[in-house]
């Protein structure tokens, strides 16, 4: 298994994660995001042991910033806005779920966050986790920043980068 950036010629139609919205995004808009609008980059995990390089999963990331609401006096909170790497989408092919592909992609996103921190600044990783994905992110040290108001809503989660680099 290996990871690389999505290529224009990649065959995405066959990818099926079981989540219609995540599949629809990957089939129709991941390429637009990356090659036309430049608002997000998609990385794909692929099986490097077969020539077809079947796509096992994908993660779409973009640079983002966290803004803190000002005090009523108008005074802003120091150190904001803060740059972060946002994981916008992450999905694993149904045939490969439960085999470490998601963790592989997530770790790769953290590596991108570390590189972003070195090159342009980044305080951590942010994601809006769907209810059934919260446990997955928590397994990789993501913590809840803003809990959902209802069971169907996403949870805003954060992961550090400092703890990783300080020990490298």
């Amino acid at each position: 298994m290996d990871i690389r950036k999505l290529k224009k010629g990649d065959s995405r139609k066959a990818f099926a994660s079981g989540n219609a919205a995540l599949d629809d995004f990957f089939h129709k808009y991941a390429s637009q995001n990356q090659f036309r609008h430049f608002i997000g980059t998609t990385y794909v995990a692929f099986d490097d042991e077969v020539e077809s390089q079947d796509i096992l999963g994908y993660a779409t990331v973009s640079a983002a910033q966290i803004h803190a609401e000002n005090l009523p006096s108008g005074r802003s909170l120091p150190r904001y806005p803060a740059p972060v790497l946002r994981i916008a989408r992450l999905a694993v092919s149904q045939n490969w779920q439960g085999r470490g592909v998601g963790g592989f992609l997530l770790a790769y996103c953290m590596r991108l966050g570390l590189e972003m921190r070195e090159r342009v600044g980044c305080v951590g990783i942010i994601t809006d986790a769907k209810p059934d994905a919260v446990a997955f992110y928590a397994k990789y040290d993501f913590v809840t920043l803003v809990p959902p108001n209802t069971p169907d809503e996403t949870t805003l989660m954060f992961a550090w980068l400092q703890g990783v680099l300080d020990q490298s």
Partner: protein, 92 residues
């Protein structure tokens, strides 16, 4: 207006729907196919709102203050994260 010919393999059911639509509307198959292509391409060029990820995340003041404290006090990475990071070439 000059045209060019294209050929495409489609499911029999799709062809049947095209034929039915042509009979029902009186439009030519060419007009229906050309219109469908132009609509689909235009839709693909525009990213629907639900697929646009906002680049700014706004936090209420208490949450923003808590996040700063969190950033300043990173925990040691868990064993699960350490193993995953090693796989992508990050030393921990």
């Amino acid at each position: 207006m000059s045209t060019v010919q294209i050929s495409a393999h489609v499911l029999p059911a799709t062809k049947a729907r095209l034929d039915e639509a042509a009979r029902f509307t009186g439009l030519s198959r060419q007009a229906i196919v050309e219109d469908a292509i132009l609509r689909e391409v235009a839709a693909l060029e525009e990213i629907p709102e639900e697929f646009i990820v906002p680049v700014t995340i706004s936090l209420e003041r208490p949450v923003a203050e808590r996040l700063l404290r969190m950033i300043d006090n990173p925990p040691a990475p868990s064993e699960t994260l350490r193993k995953a990071l090693k796989l992508v070439g990050v030393k921990v």
